[in-house]
């Protein structure tokens, strides 16, 4: 009889610990992902002027793209300053929408296409956009998981014990995401 009780208590304790760990590690991972988004936005903020500078000569009659780039950069710097997750995520997708347009121009212009500097900058920017996308997706998935477990029985007991608040999710339109062209 003793053993049965001890075994049951052991199982409960194990479950409590693993549930607690789930909540704690989710929070930590969400925080890390948000930081990652911030880091990538800073990278974009630094990379955009370089791209503008090196492509200036070729993009003279592509005013729209320039404006969009400057716009994206403004949004990025504003988002970084505000530190707001939603704003950061939106700013990240702004650049994702401009990049394919630039890619089209680059592809159509042999001189631009041959330029190693611009190719490199485009690669780097595309990479930052991808990283923002994946980090953002992770934030969305993890928050959803966290919030479901927070209210679902029996994990809600643990959430109640430690008074976890519902985490604010991200609103995002997947269609705005940047896809690499085949």
């Amino acid at each position: 009889m003793m053993y049965v009780i001890v075994a049951i208590l052991g199982v409960i304790l194990f479950w409590l610990i693993s549930t607690y760990n789930f909540f704690v590690s989710s929070k930590a991972r969400i925080k890390a992902s948000i930081q990652e988004i911030g880091n990538q936005l800073k990278r974009q903020f630094d990379l955009i002027p370089n791209l503008e500078e090196s492509a200036k000569g070729y993009l003279k009659h592509e005013k729209g793209i320039f404006e969009a780039l400057t716009d994206a950069r403004k949004a990025i710097s504003g988002a970084i300053k505000s530190g707001d997750v939603q704003k950061m995520s939106d700013a990240g997708s702004k650049l994702s929408q401009v990049l394919p347009q630039i890619q089209v121009v680059v592809e159509s212009n042999p001189e631009l296409k041959a330029s190693e500097v611009i190719g490199k900058l485009m690669d780097e920017l595309r990479d930052t956009a991808d990283k923002v996308m994946y980090a953002r997706r992770l934030v969305i998935d993890l928050t959803a998981d966290f919030n479901v477990k927070r209210v679902e029985f029996p994990t809600s007991l643990v959430a109640g014990m430690f008074k976890y608040d519902e985490l604010p999710g991200l609103i995002t339109s997947e269609k705005g995401e940047y896809k690499v062209k085949l």
Partner: protein, 310 residues
């Protein structure tokens, strides 16, 4: 073909995989038990002599443990790989970085094999010691989206501890093979015990003989089945990370349509690759039989499964 939601596909895959692995353990336990008992009867010991089992476990365990613990270094040295460079292998490097973020594991060490046959594999005993290796052919032939599919597949192997699973499985296959081999040797050359063990003893001897001949093959067949199942699991996992089945589909098509054979691959490392490095197809009944010995499911079948997730 009905539409399958990724999560359902993943769950079904995991259940099937668990059943195969569980079946494997049951089979190995039965085979080892019968071989040990039959050997004991032959040598005139009482039932339950576990000495042989112990010796087999030690021998098979050591060889596999070394393989498991140093799998990354061994495979890399066999494959003549060099470490990936962010500048030189920009897509490979950054795609792995991104997908590591997405799947929540640390970025594995990245290596490149200078071979023009497109292929990739993952190894390492746990996510902290994981290695993803791609051939230069793969990196040159795939675009970024396709590469994402392949790398995500490899990261799933890492995240699912497939290297560990396959190591455990190969220890057990080794035990069965050793015990079977010993039993056959003993029964042909060994001395027969004088005292009669009765009917049970006779049954055990016959069973032992059957198991000694068949079980190493059966164990290996199940090992291959486990390996194939893990490929499906990793394919579904890849899609759930990238959300783009078409990337992996296009990659598999490109890799499988390439006729070049990978020079650095051998039978021991074959199960690691994303697509079996051995090419050449046999059709019909012979092909189906040969299929039992494959480490990978047919590419068509994998593509069909992926298409159903589109």
């Amino acid at each position: 073909m009905t539409m399958v939601n990724i999560y359902e596909a993943q769950r079904a895959n995991k259940i099937k995989s668990t059943i195969i692995v569980a079946g494997f353990f049951v089979f190995v336990t039965a085979a080892v038990y019968i071989l040990v008992q039959a050997t004991s009867v032959y040598l005139g010991y009482e039932f339950g002599g576990l000495g042989f089992m112990g010796i087999a476990l030690i021998i098979s365990g050591i060889s596999s443990y070394v393989g498991y613990y140093y799998s990354d270094r061994i495979v890399l040295s066999i494959s003549k790989a060099r470490e990936a460079d962010r500048k030189k292998d920009f897509n490979f490097y950054t795609v792995s970085e991104n997908l590591a973020i997405a799947s929540g594991i640390a970025k594995p060490k990245l290596y490149v094999i200078e071979d023009s046959a497109p292929n990739a594999f993952a190894t390492g005993r746990d996510p902290e010691h994981a290695v993803v290796c791609a051939t230069i052919g793969l990196l040159n032939k795939l675009n970024r989206t396709e590469l994402e599919g392949v790398i995500a597949h490899e990261l799933c192997h890492i995240k699912n501890y497939d290297t560990r699973l396959m190591s455990v499985v190969s220890v057990l296959v080794g035990i069965v093979a050793l015990l079977g081999d010993w039993f056959l040797r003993i029964s042909f050359h060994g001395r027969r015990s004088d005292n009669d063990k009765g009917q049970l003893g006779a049954i055990l001897l016959i069973l032992g003989l059957v198991f000694a001949i068949l079980s190493p093959i059966i164990a290996q067949l199940i090992q291959f089945a486990v390996s194939r199942r893990r490929e499906f699991v990793a394919d579904a996992g890849s899609v759930s990370i990238t959300k783009q089945p078409q990337g992996l589909i296009a990659a598999l098509e490109k890799i499988s349509s390439d006729t070049e054979a990978l020079e650095v691959a051998n039978k021991a490392t074959a199960h690691l690759f994303i697509v079996s490095p051995f090419k050449g197809k046999i059709k019909g009944a012979v092909g189906r039989f040969a299929g039992l010995f494959n480490t990978h499911p047919p590419v068509n079948e994998r593509i069909r499964t992926l298409r159903s997730m589109l």
